[in-house]
């Protein structure tokens, strides 16, 4: 019933479009889309214009580094790349632990350009990849929405997604990360899925599988697709909307998508071994069963087929479910991984996975960040949802499910706002286009006003705000009077305009600072650039030994590897908790204990971030409590979080602070000979306190370099003969053997010591290694 109404409606609309020539509407569409692309691209360039064309904060540096590696050494070497510069002494198999889609994409672009003799540096390609893909995302969203509702809605949605902060937050120029291209892949996959489920043609479903393959290669979020599409199918089954089209499209998509997704080394056998993927296969089996039942029924159309069908369906579902549960218990299928589990049991991560909990973007979402990222869309997309459900059909079921699941996930994790944004744009676009269609019904040009608004938005977004209220259109008959129409128009014009200026503001103020170059503004508006990070990394890359090993907290691992080109102990892919805990323990324990750990890990330099001189709040002392927690998780004997707080449980660094705090390595390295910065001398601007323990000397380390604003401090770990320990001869005897032999045994000893014997680092590992070697020889 609704579907027929839908067709009537769409025909009615088509009449509106088709009395212009095809070329005209196409022209409008192309213009709007290209303008959307342009606006999306332009609104993401704030960082490049303010600073320079540079890769942003942390993960992008790794992506950039591996992309450069791939461009230099070729794809297969990249897949086999064992990066001994990371996670010393463990190393990291990069090819097997990344989603290569990003690197392949930019590498392909680079290759094409260079075959055309256009020598663009790979860095620039990486910087501008995300903004370019935002345009593609807009087009994909347009296609998706016009599949769902109408082309007008599609144009709206395209313009929304082009500039909405929720998406540009992850795709400004320079933030070279998976999400930038993944959202395009997501939208395009969904578009193709709807195509295939509409047409039921194998061609489209194969296209869906291919696009899904691209998504898998690009982002871990592909799990969202492989759970949402089966959910869609399942709900359709429940609604009794089974059809041959559904059968064909899903089965083809599932099989091919499965096979393709298993080609990604990082994914490997997960699609058949982990619970995250089981929904898909379960639905596949269920679909098969239902299809079989249908077929049986088609053999004898008479008889109790309805009950049979329902019963059979239920039985099939039950069996599938039981089978999955059973397999999980037997351990054939891995249970939910912590990151996914923390989506359902929201308190899970806080207790069990401090590393996940420590990341700020894994926190739940307040309404204000919803509003910040979506603005007017946040209170208009329910309208679109409303009408989608009111006039339901197969693909609108899909968009409803998409919206509901995405909005739930976004509520749980700020980061997943990214998956919510596209569907919100789609639905809001639908809502706006419904309303404006109706309001502008009298004059038969329907898309034209839509187009003007869009392009106006685009101009707004591009920067200059033209206040051009559209001329009210003369109403032919008195449906609702012309005043109402024009009033409505103007009001919504203003809303859209507010939206666009909000987007520009949000993108420029919140999302486009490359966090490795800080800018401070004097009260005369003059800008001062604090370039300390690159200063320090530049120093590392030039003035330390080629194989020097730098110990720092994991946030800076990728940057040290990317800009400093030196070996790091831990970095931003936090795959080895115990190793990180070891570094945390070194930072948290006192100097001599830390020295033992550092010698065990062959650390040459220690790098700490200290914002006290310029009031930079994201420095290591503020992160320190997480280091303590993570260290305590692995070494509960040595590290007690309580010791780092004052009696009254406050976290402070001044004279009130606890002894342990004042004597731990992190504290000493941060405040060593720190006397500049504000008055009184040695005043910590970030904590707003005078450090409690000052004028101390370092025994085991010496200051190697400190950047101009004290932001980055690098210390050199002294060799044992450089400081006179009480038992110098012993050290002289043991350490050299460990030093020149530690390379090899470190590869098999390092992890063992850090994993198995948790707290037993006190005994000198050098001796152990020494013995081992003598045995070996």
């Amino acid at each position: 019933m609704p579907t027929t109404a839908e067709t009537k409606h769409s025909n009615g609309r088509n009449k509106g479009i088709f009395n212009n020539t095809t070329g005209f509407s196409t022209l409008i569409t192309v213009t709007v889309l290209s303008l959307a692309w342009l606006a999306g691209f332009a609104s993401r360039l704030f960082a490049v214009i303010r600073f320079e064309s540079i890769i942003h904060e942390f993960d992008p540096w790794f992506n950039y580094r591996s992309t450069a590696y791939m461009v230099q050494h070729g794809f297969y070497n990249f897949l086999n790349w064992f990066d001994e510069r990371a996670w010393y002494p463990l190393g990291r198999i990069v090819g097997g632990t990344v989603y290569p889609g990003l690197m392949i994409t930019s590498g392909t672009i680079h290759w094409i350009l260079h075959t055309l003799n256009i020598p663009i540096h790979i860095r620039d390609i990486c910087v501008f990849l995300a903004p370019i893909f935002s345009g593609l995302t807009a087009i994909a969203t347009y296609l998706l929405t016009s599949e769902l509702w109408s082309r007008g809605a599609g144009l709206f949605a395209a313009c929304f997604i082009a500039i909405v902060p929720g998406y540009s937050s992850r795709s400004v120029a320079g933030s070279y990360d998976n999400e930038g291209i993944a959202i395009f892949a997501l939208q395009f996959t969904y578009y193709l899925w709807l195509k295939s489920i509409k047409s039921g043609s194998i061609f489209w479903s194969i296209c869906t599988a291919l696009s899904y393959f691209y998504m898998v290669s690009a982002w871990g979020g592909y799990v969202f697709i492989i759970n949402l599409i089966p959910l869609h199918v399942f709900v359709l089954l429940i609604m009794g909307r089974f059809s041959q089209r559904l059968f064909v499209s899903y089965t083809v998509f599932y099989i091919i998508g499965l096979l393709l997704s298993m080609q990604i080394p990082f994914v490997g056998f997960q699609p058949i071994r982990t619970s995250e993927h089981m929904a898909a296969s379960g639905v596949f089996a269920l679909l098969m069963a239902v299809g079989a039942l249908k077929y049986l029924h088609s053999l004898n159309p008479k008889g109790q087929w309805k009950q049979l069908l329902i019963l059979g369906g239920l039985v099939a579902a039950g069996t599938v479910f039981l089978a999955v549960v059973l397999l999980t218990y037997m351990g054939v299928i891995a249970p939910w991984s912590g990151r996914f589990y923390s989506l359902w049991d929201t308190g899970y991560a806080k207790i069990h996975i401090p590393i996940i909990a420590s990341v700020s973007e894994h926190q739940p979402t307040t309404w204000s960040s919803f509003f910040f990222d979506l603005h007017v869309l946040v209170c208009t997309f329910p309208v679109g949802l409303w009408y989608c459900i009111k006039n339901i059909n197969d693909e609108r079921v899909f968009v409803a499910l998409y919206a509901l699941s995405a909005v739930y996930f976004a509520g749980v994790m700020v980061r997943l706002m990214l998956t919510l944004t596209p569907v919100v744009c789609v639905l809001a676009g639908i809502a706006f286009s419904i309303l404006l269609d109706l309001v502008l019904k009298e004059d038969e040009m329907q898309t034209a006003p839509v187009e003007t608004e869009d392009s106006k938005n685009l101009y707004d977004k591009a920067g200059k705000l033209k206040k051009r209220t559209p001329e009210p259109v003369p109403a032919a008959d008195s449906g609702l009077g012309m005043n109402v129409r024009s009033g409505t128009l103007i009001a919504f014009m203003i809303l859209l305009m507010l939206f666009s200026v909000h987007c520009t503001w949000a993108t420029s103020n919140a999302y486009s600072s490359p966090s490795i170059v800080l800018a401070s503004y004097g009260n005369d508006g003059s800008r001062k650039i604090l370039d300390d990070f690159r200063e320090a990394y530049g120093w590392l890359s030039q003035n330390t030994a080629e194989d020097a090993r730098i110990m720092s907290w994991w946030d800076y691992g990728y940057q040290i590897a990317g800009m400093g080109n030196r070996t790091t102990l831990v970095d931003n892919n936090t795959w080895n908790n115990s190793h990180i805990a070891l570094v945390g323990k070194a930072m948290a324990s006192n100097e001599s204990a830390a020295y033992d750990i550092m010698t065990m890990l062959d650390v040459d330099y220690v790098l700490v971030i200290f914002g006290g001189a310029i009031g930079y709040s994201g420095d290591d002392i503020n992160k320190f409590i997480w280091m303590v927690r993570i260290a305590e998780g692995e070494h509960p004997k040595e590290i007690h979080e309580a010791d780092y707080f004052t009696e009254r449980g406050e976290y402070r660094v001044d004279s009130e602070a606890s002894k342990t705090m004042l004597n731990c390595l992190m504290y000493k390295l941060s405040y060593y000979r720190y006397d500049s910065g504000g008055s009184p001398a040695g005043y910590d601007r970030t904590r707003g306190a005078l450090p409690g323990h000052r004028g101390f000397q370092l025994t085991y380390l010496e200051e190697a370099y400190t950047t101009e604003h004290w932001l980055v401090r690098i210390y050199r770990v002294k060799k044992p003969d450089e400081f006179n320990r009480p038992r110098l001869p012993l050290a002289k005897r043991t350490i050299p053997t460990s030093n020149n032999l530690s390379k090899k045994p470190a590869y098999d000893l390092g992890p063992m010591t850090s994993k198995r014997r948790k707290g037993l680092l006190k005994n000198k590992p050098t001796l152990v290694k020494g013995k081992k070697m003598t045995k070996l020889e």
Binding site: T26, K195, K198, R245, W539, Q542, E703, T706, T707
Partner: protein, 469 residues
Amino acid sequence: MMPAMAKIQVLVLLLLYIAIQCGSLNVDTISSDIKIKNVDRSIDISSQLVKITSKVTLENTGKVPVKNFLLSVEGGAKSNLAFISAKDQNNKDLRLVETTVKGYDQVKFWRVELKEAINVASTAIIGTESVYTKALQPFPTAITQQEDQLVKYNGNLYFYSPYPVVSQKTNVVLNTKSVESFTKIKPFSQQDGTIAYGSYSNISPFTEKELNIHYKNNSPFLTVTRLARLIEVSHWGNIAIEETVEIEHTGAKLKGPFSRYDYQQDHHSGPASVRSYKTFLPASASDVYYRDTNGNISTSNMKVKKDSVELDLRPRYPLFGGWRSHYTLGYNVPSYEYLYHSGNEYLLKMRAVDHVFDDMQVDELVTKIILPEGSTNIVVNFPFTVTRLSDSLHYTYLDTKGRPVITFTKQNVVENHIQDFQIRYTFPRLLMLQEPLLVVGFLYTLFLCVIIYVRLDFSIHKPEHQHKD
């Protein structure tokens, strides 16, 4: 006409080469009838270089006019010698030809071809200048952050010459009073910043007497370990120059920690360190950029003067002894100042090496010149002897068959080498139309495709047709 000119060029070049060849081959003898009446020598060791300028009064005591004479450099110092030249009274450059003398294999000789011969019993005054790099040894070799940098110079107290010297004076310029020790051979005198030796009389040929000076020298000891200079010529009125500089502080190494605190407290801290230095670019240089592999180096500023553009370059971090840094400096200059042409014949006149900082010393210089695509019969001539590397091709925007690249390299370069090289080549001007045509053609096809796409585009209506289920 033009080919003829080209031929002449080739000929000249050929002759020049031949001359140099036999020059290096040929063997001279020390003529006994030349005698040096007076030498007035000044050794400037106030910077990291050793610059010796001496005024030599030659006397011809023989029977025949002398057309040339020999300059010589001690065997110990010849490896450090970067540059040597000679001028006559009216300040004309004289041609020097390397040569050897039997029995003096260690010594390095140059034959100076005089413009007009010295007649019998008459004299001529010749000014010679020579520059030595790495002749000053820091001693002690490692100092802490606060200490001053002390260096040792040891050279020859006497003017080293194959001829007897009647009388000579030597002025050593230090620009500092704090001298640890220096050779004391009477007569000598020490005024502020200079030590004057002499005059000594009747020194026989090839006498060496050690001259040692150990003194404070905080002037920047910066060495450009490698300077890659890339010159890209475009006939659209622009020449792009990019210099990749690897620089190292070759003074006394930094011993012990670096303390930012001390470094901030007083600016006399780290006296031997280099905070920044000045680079002079040609006055017409525009859109200058200064970056390294991690992006822009934001600590630098630029002053445009009327005869040059002065860049005040600050490395990301101050350079202490033994610390390295590297950067890329690029700018554009209008081509009309350096590129001359008549018809299809073009002449490019540019500096083989340009100013990096005062008293610079460059270990290795590599200069590449990228000529426009399609330029043929290229003739190069260099101001000084260089080793020319094999030519190559370079592909960039809208190139089809690649641009010819001329590459040459030279070791041990100092400021005196800032001289022009010349490249002559032929470039049919019609080729300039090639690139615009390419662009036009591309755009044309692009629009054609778009037109066709728009005409054939039904994909947008399809969904609405098959919207029913």
